[in-house]
């Protein structure tokens, strides 16, 4: 990989953030790790990441959705991954393979939190086409 890809990573769990950032950096990505929707919005305002990974619930229950929407409005071409632990607990599931959710939830990929780091790396590479 010649180009260094920048990942914007937002998650309000500092440990999850640290662990994911750690693995992605190890995998050769540059990682902008932020702990809130507000910080993520500041980053989006200032720079364009190559890809973004957002937690769903941060300051509010739908922070991740709002971030998806905002980043897609500014940089439609930047792939976005929505990661959350919510579904397994509440029975809420989203599927981005069907059209109806994709229309609304503007993420390119929905991931369960707790996926293995290699899996996440693989998914990011697929989305980045590298």
């Amino acid at each position: 990989m010649n180009k260094i890809y920048t990942v914007l990573l937002a998650d309000d769990d500092p440990d999850y953030l640290f662990q994911v950032a750690f693995y992605l950096r190890k995998a050769g990505f540059e990682v902008m790790a932020v702990e809130s929707q507000a910080e993520a919005e500041q980053v989006i305002a200032k720079m364009k990441p190559d890809i973004a990974v957002f937690d769903l619930m941060m300051e509010s229950d739908d922070s991740g959705f709002i971030l998806c929407y905002k980043i897609k409005r500014k940089y439609p071409e930047v792939p976005v991954v929505l990661a959350t632990a919510v579904s397994r607990e509440t029975g809420i599931t989203f599927g981005l393979s069907g059209g109806q959710d994709r229309e609304w939830i503007r993420a390119d990929l929905y991931l369960e939190k707790g996926v293995r780091p290699e899996q996440l790396e693989l998914e990011l590479r697929k989305l980045l086409k590298i």
Binding site: Y16, Y69, A85, V86, G95
Partner: protein, 382 residues
């Protein structure tokens, strides 16, 4: 008959008039409802117009097209959320299958209605939404009785318990795979963080045990003469290892009441939570002042600290279950977000009130005021 206001925001006049026609003489019945619901339909052709009507008329249900000429449906939704309006929002989408999307509806926030829809589809969506809205409002009313709490427990609790487990598991895997090298020293912060997450999980479990102790019903056999002075000293002793570590100084005073008639568990919960918070959110070297004052009609427990304090926005969310104030100052303080909501419930049981005064960086003072008449009423079971 009760009436719910529905606002349709759609740029297609056909959709708007269709909704008005279909729902105009529709009514919803539900076994638990006292009365049937009918609907008053309002229409807006743009998001801007919709927001204007929302502010003015405060509809109960919003049917929202996402593709609008000006601002988009999702921005209207964001506006409703930001304003914290009690409105159920259903997105009208041009896709046929809504099964998955309906599941995305969390706590009355979002529903999806496919477009084009048949009258029956619209009616059954509205019926669902009405029931949910009804249940939401009822559970809101029954909050004091703890029903909502039980519901929330199922969803939020598992999240709160799983997050630390995931974090600890993640760190253990890093160690197992020697991700940071072979020296144990490299893992010092991972170990430290794991211990912190375990600690916060333990606190959550302790708070949960408290929660189960508060039955939301007075158990008469548990009522007894409670010595507040003893409870104050106990609360101080309980938190003292942590207080000594942070060099916190205590000032306590109990004036005018020897004993009150209460369930000692309840006042232990109140005092332990307030005093431990006063230490936890204090600055090193700070002071915690605990005073109990009894007058003829009421008694007041006041716990003040010289800590980080909070702003009015943060103060408003203080007593909600699992709400934790998240900012730079609280980042390294662990908590379950349950303590104060438990305190509030206990205080409610005694028909008391809890007040907070606070200013950022200067400290907070919590006052619990409980009417004495209530305590004696409880005593005689009136």
């Amino acid at each position: 008959m009760a009436q719910l206001k529905i606002l349709v925001v759609d740029d297609e006049p056909g959709i708007r008039s269709g909704v008005s026609r279909i729902l105009g003489n529709f009514h919803v019945t539900y076994p638990f409802m006292d009365e049937d619901y009918t609907f008053n339909i309002m229409e807006a052709a743009t998001g801007e117009e919709g927001i204007e009507i929302i502010d003015r008329e405060m509809p109960d249900i919003l049917l929202l097209d996402n593709k609008l000429p000006g601002i988009q449906g999702v921005e209207v939704l964001e506006y409703v959320r930001k304003k914290n309006y009690d409105i159920v929002v259903a997105m009208i989408t041009s896709y046929a299958s809504i099964d998955v999307a309906v599941k995305a509806h969390n706590d009355g926030a979002i529903d999806f209605i496919p477009k084009p829809f048949t009258p029956q589809e619209l009616k059954s969506s509205i019926e669902q939404i009405t029931k949910q809205q009804y249940l939401r409002r009822i559970t809101h009313k029954l909050k004091v009785e703890g029903r909502k709490v039980r519901f929330q427990f199922l969803s939020v609790l598992s999240h709160e318990l799983k997050a630390p487990l995931n974090a600890i598991e993640g760190y253990l895997r890093m160690m197992q795979e020697r991700q940071m090298g072979d020296s144990l020293d490299e893992y010092a912060s991972a170990i430290e963080r794991s211990l912190q997450r375990i600690e916060s999980m333990r606190n959550l479990i302790m708070d949960l045990l408290d929660f189960t102790k508060v039955n939301f019903e007075r158990q008469m056999e548990k009522m007894q003469n409670v010595n507040l002075k003893e409870l104050v000293s106990m609360a101080v002793v309980t938190v003292s290892p942590y207080a000594i570590h942070k060099e916190i100084h205590f000032e306590t005073s109990v004036n005018g009441c020897e004993t009150i008639w209460a369930d000692p568990n309840d006042f232990e919960i109140i005092l332990n939570n307030l005093v431990s918070n006063a230490v936890k959110y204090n600055k090193p070297g700070g002071t915690v002042t605990v005073s109990v004052d009894c007058s003829e009609n009421e008694f007041t427990i006041r716990v003040a600290d010289t800590g980080i304090g909070m702003n009015s926005e943060e103060r408003d969310m203080l007593f909600e279950e699992f709400s934790r104030i998240r900012n730079d100052k609280t980042r390294n303080i662990s908590g379950s977000g349950l303590g104060l909501s438990i305190v509030k419930k206990v205080v409610d049981l005694y028909h008391g009130v809890i007040n907070v005064e606070s200013s950022p960086d200067r400290g907070s003072a919590f006052s619990v005021i409980i009417p004495r008449s209530q305590v004696s009423n409880l005593k005689t079971g009136i």
